[in-house]
Symmetry: none
């Protein structure tokens, strides 16, 4: 509802990962000047921690990092937040790196040196998509915990999908049925089982 609370649900937050502190700080400053909320991490481990503890809506990460590479990090991040878009950047990317990154669900791949402008464009695209697709629901569900049993994780995902579709269609169940190609009766049952409450905002 409100918009200037420090952590509303409507704030779009970017997780920026780079082991080079100077580049990290410079990029962060630039993005913040453009009004993007940025969270920083100078290693994959830190990034994973932040990902678990803070609401993150998109990730921009370096590919080459000591200890854990960007690819490994992305794989881990994927487990915790399957729907958060990831953008890579790197100077020495081989074709197979790019393929691997895209397979992990990368949205884009920027080449170093990254033009501030092109990074901004990419991030703004992510934000627009975020605004468009998800309004009220936060992308980061608590699918985080690896100790959560398989069944519950799948249920959480089902719930997320339905809530997402509901919110993009303004609570229209009929539209959800059509989009998800799911039987009406089944959808009703699932909503009740998963505790999904349809709310129409007029």
């Amino acid at each position: 509802m409100s918009q200037d609370t420090p952590d509303t649900e409507s704030v779009f937050t970017l997780l920026l990962v780079d082991d080079d502190h100077d580049v990290l700080a410079a990029n962060a400053r630039f993005l913040r000047l453009q009004g993007i909320e940025v969270v920083l991490a100078d290693s994959a481990d830190i990034a994973l921690q932040r990902l678990e503890n803070e609401p993150v809506d998109a990730i921009v990460t370096d590919l080459c990092m000591p200890e854990r590479s960007g690819l490994e990090f992305a794989a881990e991040a994927r487990i915790r937040r399957p729907l958060v878009p990831i953008v890579f950047f790197s100077g020495l990317a081989s074709v197979s790196d790019v393929v691997a990154a895209m397979r992990l669900g990368a949205v884009d791949f920027l080449e170093k040196p990254v033009e501030p402008q092109s990074m901004l464009t990419t991030v703004l695209t992510l934000r627009d998509r975020y605004e468009g697709v998800i309004n009220s629901q936060r992308l980061s569900l608590d699918l985080a915990d690896e100790t959560v049993p398989f069944r519950y994780r799948v249920l959480a995902y089902e719930k997320l999908l339905i809530e997402q579709s509901l919110s993009t269609h303004d609570g229209q169940v009929g539209a959800v049925i059509e989009q998800l190609q799911i039987n009406r009766r089944t959808l009703n049952d699932k909503m009740r089982r998963l505790g999904i409450v349809r709310q129409i905002h007029d």
Copy 2:
């Protein structure tokens, strides 16, 4: 069940696209020797025609072609056959080309000169996946695609969870059972249904 029957009831057909006739013919001969059903096209236009008129289960195409590039072709192909996997190969691929290709749903990207063996491996992978797809409807892993029906998206997520867990535990099924807290029998069934192949790297 079966594995080396020359013409199984489920015929897997590959569409091979390359503007270089010699390369095209050579690759086709090689693949046919391996028992792959191959359909040829020496241009994007021809390929699109064939795609419309003949049953094609996978596409392998050159990226650089006169008139219409591999990317444009793939985009068109995508419209006509959204679920057919596409593999690109090219000698001079830029990062942005690879990104564009993967976005168009490419499954892999091979670099020229293409080793016959690696092309074969890729194609065989496609065929295996195709077999799995036959069994459990279709499962082209696309967690982001919103046009994919609910059920398939959930199945894709289940597959992702299991594969992730498998890979973090180095293929140890026992560890997966423990982590996901899933019944061993159920896991086995799901793996078979979802076409998950456990691969141990020693």
